[in-house]
Symmetry: C2
Subunit: 333 residues, 2 copies
């Protein structure tokens, strides 16, 4: 019998389609001819030596010899413009805001052919550190209400650039989905006197069956109502509503879990395309006791189709418990 | 300057990214080697002669000689099971419902190589008639709360079956997105004393610039805050909250507009992959004065990436007004 599961934090239903269910191994990517990528490409604006084409960095982390390890540059084709004011217009049913915001690229490594699964832990720490720097810097801009930090890995995940990078997009409005999740979390807190994510973390630690990986400060799980195969949430164990509150010690622990999770996906599923994103409270409500920031990893293994578009629900042809077990037991080699 | 536009009906924001903007022509699909598809395939369960493999139809429309023109069969790999009761379980943060529901396939034509853009109008009428028959039949099942009728055309839209078909999935719950849209429409009605969709239709008829096509009973527009290029809404002009209320005359007009819109997409963009879906009120609230049913067509031209996953917002690199003009003026040949 298939099952409809409800995610009590996001209020989303998912169909766990057991009649169509596949074993975790069945999602392994067919061996494609992954072309050999060079460590340096003269045509790549993100490779060392091409700094002028990448643009003036807004943030850099360097090694002791002064070479950059991670840096942030403006996106050359920004979705939002960094100048101007977010003025509104409102005529009848037409409501708009000037597209003011910040769109940046985080160049994650000087090496053209690197991938997060193979970084040193210290490199992932640097990436998270620079995310935090930019987050805190942007939080001072009164025009900005929210920041989405995300990564697109591979063609199906929406990138065609080889050089390893992630992005941030700072918006002058809070998206409806983010606002809805905040208000769902607030409602749960009002009714139950606790953070729904803290509650979920405690229940997952007790149940054990959906845990992929855990350390002192973070836990990685496949959520009970995961909307797609191997969908993973990496949550800080301590309640913090905003990513900007991450401590030095937590950065180390997040780096270690993120790298390990991506390495398990790489080894277990054959370098699948994926997105990750950091879900955090808006700047307008950055410290609260109901929303709990986390990082979501979404392997792009299945395609949303007409049913997903028409209902906002997903059909997941895998069991979250089996996906978690598969990744938990997958050795990284 | 880019622009953030708000869809007052769905409450969704979209970034209209003018810095990245493309002309409508730029979205034309690269000439792929579309392989020659035969009119009949002996291995296809949906082709005439293979009726046993398709399963017992739940609904059929035949020609005067008794040959089927359109028929509905159970999905062989259903996401939900048609037997049992939608019993609930509720333990801590884990909340589920038995996956009871109906998952059917609408075989749209006996011809293996047909596509909606080239159907006779009468064939599209038959398809909509059979959608309505199934909708009304399923509305009598007390276990079912909502029905999504949808079509996946092409690989990027989530189908690999060549034979032209659409699907319906009847669920024992109302998805959160559908519930949110209902409540947004109710709220607008409470505050303004009118249906937000009726208001939008009137403003679009006045503005003219986002209309693709129009007849007595329907209008096809690219919404002001369309979330992707050529995203189209086909709305009945008369307020009706549920698809099941569509009249005979309206079926004729919807068939004509749907076929013409898909033919314009076919000719203008080179047979793009697309989904369409019917958005209608849940059975539990099927007649109301605030929600307005419609059919949405979503060409799958761009890929949602990490930003879309993390925010629920979309970046649209096209101007809705330009997309509407392009399709409005596109002759079907």
């Amino acid at each position: 019998m298939p099952e409809l599961r409800y995610n009590i934090a996001t209020k989303d239903w998912v169909i766990i389609a057991t009649e169509r269910a596949k074993r975790p191994d069945d999602f392994k990517r067919e061996k494609k001819e992954d072309k050999e990528i060079p460590a340096y490409s003269s045509s790549c604006p993100f490779c060392p030596g091409n700094e002028e084409r990448a643009g003036e960095p807004t943030s850099v982390i360097k090694d002791k010899d002064g070479n950059w390890l991670v840096k942030v540059v403006p996106n050359k084709f920004p979705a939002l413009s960094c100048t101007g004011e977010p003025d509104k217009t409102n005529e009848g049913v037409y409501h708009s805001v000037n597209g003011v915001g910040v769109h940046e690229v985080i160049i994650e490594s000087p090496l053209h052919n690197m991938t997060t699964a193979f970084y040193e832990n210290s490199q992932v720490e640097n990436i998270i550190k620079i995310y935090k720097q930019r987050y805190l810097e942007l939080s001072k801009d009164p025009r900005i209400k929210h920041v989405i930090i995300f990564k697109n890995h591979g063609l199906s995940a929406g990138t065609s650039l080889e050089h390893p990078h992630s992005q941030l997009l700072a918006t002058p409005i809070v998206s409806t989905q983010v606002a809805n999740r905040e208000s769902a979390a607030r409602e749960y807190h009002d009714e139950n006197g606790e953070c729904v994510y803290c509650k979920m973390i405690n229940e997952e630690i007790e149940a054990k069956e959906r845990i992929i990986i855990e350390n002192k400060n973070f836990i990685g799980i496949v959520p009970y109502a995961a909307f797609s195969p191997f969908h993973t949430w990496i949550l800080p164990k301590k309640h913090k509503s905003s990513f900007g509150e991450i401590s030095e010690e937590e950065i180390k622990d997040l780096a270690s879990i993120l790298k390990e999770t991506l390495a398990k996906l790489y080894c277990g599923l054959g370098n699948p395309d994926y997105n990750y994103c950091i879900r955090t409270s808006p700047f307008t409500d950055s410290e609260n006791n109901y929303f709990h920031w986390y990082l979501a990893v979404i392997p792009r293994i299945t395609k949303p189709a007409g049913f997903e578009v028409g209902s906002g629900m997903f059909i997941n042809a895998s069991l979250p418990e089996q996906c978690a077990k598969f990744l938990r037991e997958k050795a990284v080699i």
